[in-house]
C-alpha cells in the first residue's frame, strides 16, 4: 500500500512542479475573482446587474481609447502617452461645441441628435489632426533612435497637451448639462437601464465596426497591417510607410475624439488632467487584451470597465472607488508578470 501511494504521489508532485508557482498563483487569483463575482451576483442580483450595465458602458468608452493605444503600439511599438491627453482635448472641444456653439441642453427634439452627431464628427476630426501633428513633431524625427527616446518625448508631449487643456479651460472641472436623456430604457425587477448608457453603446459599436472594416477590408488597412508586420518589407512593396503611420495616428486620434465626446456627455464634466488617468486605464485595457490586437483591446476594455464597476459598486467585500486606480494598475502588473501577451495576443520578446 505504502509503495503504491508513493508511486502515485510522485508523478503528481512532478506535475505540480512542472506547472510552476506562477501559473498556480495565477489560477488561484482568477478563481478567487470568479468566486467574488459569483457570490455578489448570488447575494445581490439586482444591484450587481445594475453595476454590470454601468461597467459595460464605461468599458465601451475605454475600448475607444484602448484601440488608439493598440493601433499605435501595433505599428510603432510605442506607448503613446499623449493619447490620453488627445482624448481629454476631444472632451474639451466637445464641451465647447455642444454647449457654447450649438447651445445644447437637457431638452430639444430630433434636431439635437444631428448636432450631437456634428459635434462627434468635429471632435473626431480635431483629435485626429492633433494626434497626427503629435506624431509629426515628436515621433517621426526619432524613427532610428533607441526605443526609450520616443517614449520620453511621448511623456513630454503628454504634459504639453495637458497644459494646452489647462490654458484653454483652466484648472477646474467644466460641467456640461446632461444632454443625453436619463429616462429608462427598461426597468425590470429593480434593474434600470437608462438611455444615456444605451446611446454610448449605440455610438461605440458602429465606430468599432467601421474600424474593423477599415483595417480588415480596405487597401489602407492592408497597408497598416503590412507596416505593422515589417516596415522595411512594406516599404519595398511600395507602401508609403510614413503616410501609413500618419494615417494610423489619424484613426487613433479620431477614436480618441469619439471617446472624448462620449465621456464628456456621459460623465458630464471635463478637466485638463482626466486624460492622463483614463489613458493609463485604457492602456491597461489594451495590454490586458493583448497589445496590438484590435478585438483584444475591446475585450480588455470591457473587462477593465467591469472590474472598475464591480470594485466601486459591489456590496460584498468591494474595496471601493478609493482603490480603483491601485486595482487597475495591480491588474496591469499581474498581467505583465503572468501573461505579458495578454488575453488574445501573441507572445512577444518583451515579456518572454
Amino acid at each position: 500500500m505504502a509503495t503504491e501511494a508513493q508511486t502515485t504521489s510522485a508523478p503528481l508532485l512532478g506535475r505540480v512542479k512542472g506547472l510552476g508557482v506562477v501559473p498556480v498563483l495565477g489560477f488561484t487569483l482568477v478563481a478567487l475573482l470568479v468566486f467574488w463575482i459569483v457570490k455578489n451576483f448570488y447575494e445581490f442580483p439586482a444591484d450587481s446587474t445594475q453595476v454590470l450595465l454601468i461597467g459595460v458602458t464605461t468599458g465601451a468608452i475605454y475600448a475607444l481609447v484602448a484601440l488608439g493605444y493598440t493601433l499605435v503600439y501595433g505599428i510603432l511599438e510605442l506607448i503613446n502617452f499623449a493619447h490620453g491627453d488627445v482624448f481629454m482635448l476631444g472632451g474639451m472641444i466637445s464641451a465647447t461645441f455642444s454647449v457654447q456653439v450649438f447651445g445644447l441642453g437637457t431638452g430639444g427634439g430630433i434636431g439635437k441628435w444631428f448636432l450631437v452627431l456634428a459635434t462627434l464628427l468635429i471632435a473626431m476630426g480635431f483629435c485626429g489632426l492633433i494626434n497626427t501633428t503629435v506624431e509629426l513633431i515628436a515621433y517621426r524625427p526619432l524613427r532610428g533612435a533607441p526605443r526609450l527616446v520616443p517614449l520620453i518625448t511621448a511623456i513630454g508631449m503628454s504634459f504639453i497637451l495637458q497644459n494646452v487643456g489647462l490654458a484653454w479651460k483652466g484648472p477646474n472641472f467644466i460641467s456640461i448639462p446632461s444632454i443625453l436623456p436619463h429616462s429608462n430604457v427598461f426597468s425590470i425587477g429593480g434593474v434600470t437601464y437608462t438611455w444615456n448608457k444605451l446611446i454610448v453603446v449605440f455610438i461605440t459599436v458602429p465606430v468599432l465596426i467601421g474600424l474593423v472594416y477599415l483595417v480588415q477590408n480596405t487597401r489602407q488597412g492592408k497597408a497598416m497591417r503590412a507596416t505593422a508586420q515589417d516596415k522595411d518589407a512594406a516599404a519595398m512593396m511600395g507602401i508609403n510607410v510614413n503616410r501609413t503611420i500618419s494615417f494610423t495616428f489619424l484613426i487613433a486620434g479620431m477614436l480618441a475624439g469619439a471617446a472624448g465626446l462620449l465621456y464628456a456627455l456621459y460623465v458630464t464634466n471635463v478637466r485638463y488632467d482626466q486624460g492622463f488617468q483614463l489613458g493609463l486605464i485604457a492602456f491597461t485595457a489594451a495590454v490586458f487584451g493583448g497589445i496590438g490586437n484590435l478585438p483584444g483591446a475591446v475585450l480588455g476594455a470591457l473587462c477593465i470597465g467591469l472590474i472598475q464597476a464591480f470594485n466601486e459598486g459591489f456590496n460584498w467585500h468591494a474595496p471601493g472607488s478609493d482603490w480603483t486606480q491601485s486595482i487597475v494598475f495591480a491588474v496591469l502588473i499581474l498581467i505583465l508578470v503572468f501573461r505579458p501577451e495578454g488575453l488574445l495576443g501573441e507572445r512577444t520578446p518583451e515579456g518572454a
Binding site: 510605442l78 526619432l142 533607441p146 526605443r147 517614449l151 511623456i155 489647462l166 502588473i333 505583465l336 515579456g351
Partner: protein
C-alpha cells in the same frame, strides 16, 4: 519637414565656407543686437547677456596678454556694477588660467568651497537678471535633496538604461519610514532610541534621524528589489509602464492607509499625512562633548536652515562619491553593458536579473535616503507629495543634465529644483512686468518641463553635459532591437 531640414543644413554649410572675419562679424553683429534688445527691456539683463557673450568669445583669443587684459577690464567693470558678480566672475576666470593638472582638483574644490560657504554670502549676492535673486538657504536644501534623488535615478536610467517612471514610490517609502519611526504615529508603542527634542515619555516610536536615514535607505532598497524581481525580466517600455504602475499604487496606499482593508489599522494617517516628525540632531551629550560643533537639535538651533543645508550637502557628497565609484566598478560596467546591448551583455556572461536588480536597489537606496531627509526637513509627509509628476520631474533633471553623467545630473537637478521652488515664479513676474503679459507661469510648470523633455530628446538626446560614452550611443546608435532567435 525633410526639405526644411536639408535647406537649413545647406545654409549652415554655406555659412561655414565664408571667411572667418565675415563669419565673426556676423556673429558679433547678431549678438550685439541681442544685447541691445534685451537691454532695452531690462538694463541688467542686457548687461548680463553682454558679459556671458564676452566670456564665450574669450576662448577664441589666442594671445594670452590680450585675453588677460580683456578679462581684467571685464572684472573691473563688473566690480563697479556689482561687487559680488565681479568676485564670482574673477574666481571663475582665474580657474581657467590654471594648468590642466591643477584644474582637475581646483575646479571641483572651488565649487565645493563656494557651496559650503553659500549660507554666509547668499545675502550679499547680486540679483540674476530674468531669474531673480539667488536661491535662499531653504531653497538650497530642497535643491540638494532633489540632486540626491536625481543621482539615484541616474543609476537606474543613466547607468543601467532602465526607464523608471515610478521613482516617486521610493521617495514616498523613505519619507514614510522616517515618519513612522520618529513621530506620534504608532501611539500604542513607546520606544525611544537616540531621538532629540522629544520628552522621554512621549508615546510612539522615536528613533534618531541618522539611524532612520540608513534604515530608510535599506527598507527602500528592499522595496526596490521586491518591485524589481517580478518585473525586471520585462524589457524597455513594458518595464517603464510597470514602474509607473507601482508609482501610482504606493501613493494611493499612503492616501488610503488610514483604514487599511476595513481593519481600522492606521498605517499612514491618510490624506492628513504624518506630522510633526522629530528633528534631526546629535543630542546634548555629543554636542557638549564636541564643544557645540555638532548641534544638539537642528530645529531649535539658531541657524537651523544652514545646518540642514550642510547636512544635505554631506549626503549629496556621499551619493556623488558612491555614484562615481560605482560607475567604474565591475557592477557599473555591467550596467553600462546592459544599457548598450542586453543580449550581448548576457552572452558575455553578465547576469541580467541580478545586475538590473542591483541597479534598482542602488537607485532606490539613494531615493529613499533623500525622501527620508526631505521628510525630516519639512517635519511632515503627505500623500499629496507623491504624484506621478514628481517622477517625471526627477526624470527631466536626469535627461536635461545628461543621462549617465554625474556633473550633468547635478546641474540639471539643481537648476530644475530651483526653477520649481522660486525661479519660475521670478521669471514669470519678470516676463509679466517687462513684456506686459498676464501669464501665471508657475501654473504651466509641467508644460514647460514637457517642452524641455521634447526639445532635449529631439535635438540633444545626450543632455546638456553628456558623458562621452552616452553621446556616442545616441549619435551612432546601438543595437537596441531585441533579437528574437536568442529568446526562443
Amino acid at each position: 519637414m525633410e526639405d526644411l531640414r536639408t535647406g537649413v543644413r545647406d545654409a549652415q554649410n554655406r555659412f561655414r565656407e565664408l571667411p572667418q572675419a565675415t563669419r565673426w562679424s556676423v556673429w558679433l553683429g547678431l549678438e550685439a543686437l541681442l544685447v541691445v534688445v534685451l537691454g532695452s527691456l531690462d538694463l541688467s539683463l542686457g548687461v548680463g547677456a553682454g558679459v556671458v557673450i564676452t566670456i564665450a568669445w574669450l576662448n577664441k583669443i589666442r594671445d594670452p596678454r590680450i585675453r588677460l587684459g580683456i578679462e581684467i577690464a571685464l572684472v573691473v567693470f563688473l566690480l563697479i556694477v556689482s561687487t559680488s558678480a565681479g568676485v564670482l566672475v574673477a574666481i571663475g576666470l582665474a580657474l581657467t588660467w590654471l594648468p590642466d593638472v591643477w584644474k582637475r582638483l581646483a575646479v571641483p574644490g572651488t565649487a565645493l568651497a563656494l557651496v559650503i560657504g553659500y549660507p554666509y554670502y547668499v545675502g550679499h549676492l547680486f540679483t540674476i537678471p530674468l531669474f531673480g535673486a539667488f536661491p535662499s538657504v531653504r531653497t538650497g536644501v530642497v535643491m540638494l535633496v532633489y540632486v540626491m534623488m536625481a543621482l539615484g535615478l541616474n543609476v537606474v536610467v543613466g547607468y543601467a538604461g532602465l526607464l523608471d517612471l515610478g521613482y516617486v514610490a521610493f521617495y514616498a517609502m523613505g519619507a514614510y519610514t522616517v515618519a513612522w519611526f520618529a513621530s506620534l504615529q504608532f501611539a500604542h508603542h513607546n520606544f525611544h532610541f537616540g531621538a532629540v527634542g522629544v520628552a522621554p515619555n512621549l508615546i510612539g516610536f522615536h528613533i534618531s534621524i541618522w539611524l532612520l536615514l540608513v534604515l530608510a535607505g535599506i527598507l527602500t532598497s528592499v522595496t526596490g528589489v521586491i518591485i524589481g524581481l517580478p518585473t525586471l525580466r520585462l524589457r524597455g517600455d513594458y518595464l517603464a509602464i510597470v514602474t509607473l504602475g507601482f508609482g501610482e499604487i504606493l501613493p494611493q496606499v499612503a492616501r488610503n492607509g488610514d483604514h487599511l482593508f476595513g481593519t481600522g489599522f492606521n498605517l499612514t494617517n491618510g490624506p492628513n499625512g504624518i506630522t510633526p516628525i522629530d528633528p534631526p540632531g546629535f543630542g546634548n551629550t555629543l554636542s557638549n562633548a564636541t564643544g557645540g560643533i555638532l548641534p544638539a537639535n537642528y530645529l531649535t538651533a539658531a541657524n537651523s536652515d544652514r545646518l540642514f543645508f550642510w547636512t544635505g550637502l554631506v549626503l549629496v557628497l556621499i551619493t556623488v562619491f558612491a555614484s562615481w565609484r560605482l560607475r567604474d566598478s565591475r557592477l557599473g560596467r555591467a550596467w553600462i553593458a546592459i544599457r548598450e546591448d542586453e543580449t550581448a551583455a548576457a552572452a558575455m556572461g553578465v547576469p541580467l536579473m541580478r545586475t538590473k536588480t542591483w541597479a534598482y536597489a542602488t537607485g532606490a537606496f539613494f531615493g529613499g535616503i533623500a525622501g527620508a531627509y526631505f521628510a525630516a526637513f519639512k517635519s511632515a509627509t503627505f500623500p499629496g507629495d507623491f504624484f506621478f509628476n514628481i517622477s517625471v520631474f526627477i526624470l527631466v533633471m536626469v535627461i536635461l543634465g545628461g543621462m549617465g553623467n554625474i556633473w550633468g545630473v547635478i546641474v540639471g537637478a539643481a537648476f530644475l529644483a530651483y526653477l520649481d521652488q522660486a525661479g519660475l515664479a521670478n521669471t514669470g513676474a519678470w516676463l509679466n512686468s517687462n513684456l506686459g503679459l498676464k501669464i501665471d507661469v508657475p501654473l504651466y510648470e509641467f508644460g514647460i518641463f514637457g517642452v524641455i523633455l521634447l526639445v532635449v530628446m529631439l535635438f540633444r538626446p545626450e543632455g546638456l553635459i553628456p558623458s562621452s560614452r552616452r553621446k556616442a550611443e545616441f549619435q551612432e546608435g546601438v543595437h537596441d532591437e531585441p533579437l528574437y532567435d536568442v529568446q526562443h
